[in-house]
Subunit: 513 residues, 2 copies
């Protein structure tokens, strides 16, 4: 009886047969967050944000949101739809948002905590295109949606799905969300994001999530299961579907990630301080609206400040400005005691060295800044336009490595190994030492993708780049995929719900002429 | 008269005609170093290292080193060549090493400070092979040596050359160092590393460095110009040429980077704590020897702890263990108030996503750990066996981005841009705002390599990966290269010295039979 076999399984659990990977596990950040802003700078940005909200205001296109804001004391000009918030109202409302909350998965072992020192990695969400080395770049479609979700299910380092890794554009728009949700709910035992444009897609997600967890829908209020991204249309505009979605989520006690998409030089001033101040104003506006709807509703401070190429207008990601914007955003989120979302992003259109170095910049910036939700954690390519199968595997390796960096270093008499050093002595080697043999199987991170063989061995075996090897890995994962178990009754109930709602949503009276 | 043209030049200085790059500049680290060891753990590792030095000892193969150590009070067994050091002697001697020192370049504007919060990026040093996309992998040779050094000269983000970016194996071994030094001294106005195996290669470097700077050789003692890497043969062995080189450098007051190459599982026990403890013992041993030779001699705490793949024995770099080993090493170096060296390393044999993500892991780990000398900063491939032209450009981009992350964020009334935000208002854009027009040229980092264009534009322009684009960049840099100016008299004096020494080193009496 030893602990070795257990430890061995812990490190080497494989998805299907052959691909080694780390287990699904809760991650906490042991490091003090990096700061690029002084305490005074944080307060200056805070005060500027409050002035933006009080003096400039936000244009709100949704009537329900306008009504809610007016009722709660905002200064609403219904003609221009401009909404201004007094600083006192903002401060009062953001104070009711929770500093941390748990999001409940179908499998309780896959629940995640958002806030504090917890780190949650999500997959890519929302691209219109999908690509792989064999089939090239193509419009998102239902077959790829399902295959990609199967991979997200199989990859343990991904804690959470992100609202559809790609858009199944070959499904009818009005019922697409039903097919997506049913597949997510039955193929994943992890948490997943619902869509946030309007209340219908939120209501249907709530029903399916409740069935999948086999709890009454009302139970979800106390045990949130769903999360969605609410983007502002920067600068300073909140559109109708997004504000309706935000309200529906907050009413049901589900989590909203309030995320301005603020590209400095285009949607904000060109200076980083202004970009963060404007982002902060827009994020706080959404946070305030969630708390008007339901005090205590779970909400995440979303940040997506980057910059554009001022010569071409192209958005850039994983840049130095992106990293500093992320670190500053983390500081602002902590000032408000809110969970903080950042992203793994790249502007590269191909899974190459640029894709990897921009993603590493983004991931390190996020983790060093104390990120809670790393959205777009795996698979994003081309500024978010494309979900890449090979990038999914590259990012999985990046996230696995980062998750191991966060593990503590053991320092005690056994690990200091003085006896082994004395036993081997000058000029020897440690391959056969008892100290080594007792530990070697679990001593080091075992990569999924990295190839450490020498040049000759690598060349003789096909001279494949990491991206080419990633192509083989996702295919093997897919071939060996087995979905996590689910009660057949729940699947049938979800199918019945989807069939009923499909009928309702496609009945002639609802169709556009 | 505005400040814009100056700022424009600062950001956009080009090497030759068309490649934009950052200026050569001093870098300081604004961040508090990350820690993976508690203060108690640091002391436990320290104490273990002292016990290794006192109880196990180091095998020293050089007679001069043995004599020095015996004279200074070490416990020397001349039969086994085992040298043991009492803790008191170690503590006393490491205290005389400087916490920081300046290394003097031919151009004083290229001087570098090693220590404190300064960061110095060096190029790759020492590979036996060289590779590029056109010609493939081949043995290092004189033509490639010169071209590669020209690129190191042209790339501003590289502060320091690293002792020959590749071995010119087509030059005669006994005089190769003379050709290398003469070319480095005349093609670079930056600092460069000399070789460290034996005293001859050190003495010749001192003469050439003095001529290049036009100072008497004796002046170099107070103004060190040279630096070299001294590796131990782990575990716990210091070979003859390395110990002779260390002594020659310290005698002349030149800088030594005491670097054990400790791959956990092979040259040290498999545990990270033991690897760092053994590395620490070996590094301190070399530091002690420098201070025995000349109290106050400049010395850098070198760290190169990584791990091997326990299934194959292949070395791995840029791994989670590598990052944690680097962070721990930085903590140990700071405990002794010594400058700390880490590296930009990858095991990949091809310039692909793996090469980029492993290098980013290594660079972030080093910078977050408070590195002073990032050795092998640009160009290293294949675990250091190969210098890659394309990797040099990828790493240059990585180092440029990191150097921009270290720059402060301006937060003041102008940068907070409230007036611009009010002027543009909800739903507008900032491209034409006066606030933008005043700042856009210098607002953001301009990449050398990254391509931010959209998919269609990228595809129409040849669909080239970052590595393929890097191929075009180094060729353009090389085609446009102009060496920094140097007095013709100095070049002639160096040539005359090399001619004389070449004659001495190749006279028949010195040739091997």
């Amino acid at each position: 009886m030893t602990v070795e076999p257990v430890a061995h399984r812990r490190r080497e659990r494989r998805a299907g047969g052959g691909i080694p990977q780390l287990p699904f596990r809760r991650l906490t950040n042991p490091f003090t967050p990096l700061e690029v802003l002084s305490a005074d700078h944080v307060e200056e940005i805070h005060r500027t944000s409050l002035r933006i909200l009080a003096e400039v205001g936000v244009e709100v296109l949704g009537d329900r949101a306008i009504d809610r804001l007016a009722r709660a004391g905002a200064d609403v000009d219904r003609g221009s739809r401009r909404v201004r918030l007094e600083p006192g109202l903002v401060e009062e409302l953001i104070a009711t948002a929770p500093a941390a909350f748990t999001l409940h998965a179908r499998n309780p072992a896959r629940d995640v905590v958002l806030g504090g020192r917890d780190i949650v990695f999500s997959s890519v969400g929302g691209p219109a295109f999908v690509t792989d080395l064999d089939r090239g770049r193509r419009a998102g479609n239902w077959q790829d949606f399902r295959d990609y979700v199967r991979l997200i299910s199989a990859l343990n380092v991904i804690h959470q799905e992100a609202g559809g890794p790609l858009e199944p554009t070959d499904l009818p728009v009005e019922t697409r969300h039903l097919d997506m949700y049913a597949f997510l709910a039955t193929t994943l035992d992890k948490t997943w994001h619902c869509l946030g444009f309007g209340s219908t897609v939120v209501e249907d997600a709530l029903e399916i999530a409740a069935i999948a967890r086999s709890v009454p829908r009302e139970a979800l209020t106390a045990e949130p299961s769903l999360i969605t991204i609410i983007n502002t249309n920067s600068p300073l505009r909140l559109d109708g579907p997004m504000s309706d979605g935000l309200i529906a989520m907050a009413e049901a006690g589900q989590a909203v990630v309030a995320t301005p998409f603020t590209l400095a030089g285009a949607m904000t001033p060109v200076t980083l301080a202004a970009a963060v101040a404007q982002q902060n104003a827009e994020a706080l506006f959404c946070v305030v609206l969630t708390q008007m709807v339901r005090p205590g509703a779970p909400v995440v401070y979303g940040a997506f400040t980057s910059n554009v190429d001022m010569r071409t207008g192209s958005p850039a990601f994983g840049t130095p400005e992106y990293v500093k914007g992320a670190l500053a955003s983390g500081q602002m989120a902590r000032r408000y005691r809110l969970p903080w979302r950042s992203s793994n992003a790249t502007a590269s259109v191909v899974v190459d060295a640029q894709a990897a170095y921009e993603s590493e910049m983004a991931v390190w910036g996020a983790v060093m800044g104390g990120v809670n939700l790393l959205y777009q954690g795996a698979g994003w390519l081309e500024g978010g336009l494309t979900a890449s199968y090979e990038k999914l595997i590259v990012d999985t390796e990046i996230l696995q490595m980062m998750s191991e960096v966060l593990q503590p270093v053991a320092v005690d008499e056994a690990s200091l190994g003085l006896d082994a050093i004395a036993e081997v002595g000058p000029g020897g080697h440690f391959f056969g030492a008892a100290h080594t043999l007792e530990r070697y199987e679990t001593a080091f991170y075992r990569p999924m993708l990295s190839d450490w063989r020498n040049y000759e061995t690598w060349a003789d075996d096909g001279a494949r780049t990491a991206t080419e090897r990633a192509n083989g890995i996702w295919k093997q994962l897919l071939a060996e995929f087995e979905p996590p178990p689910i009660d057949e009754a729940r699947v049938e109930a979800i199918d019945a719900f989807v069939a009923r709602r499909r009928g309702e949503l496609t009945e002639p009276s609802r169709r556009k002429p």
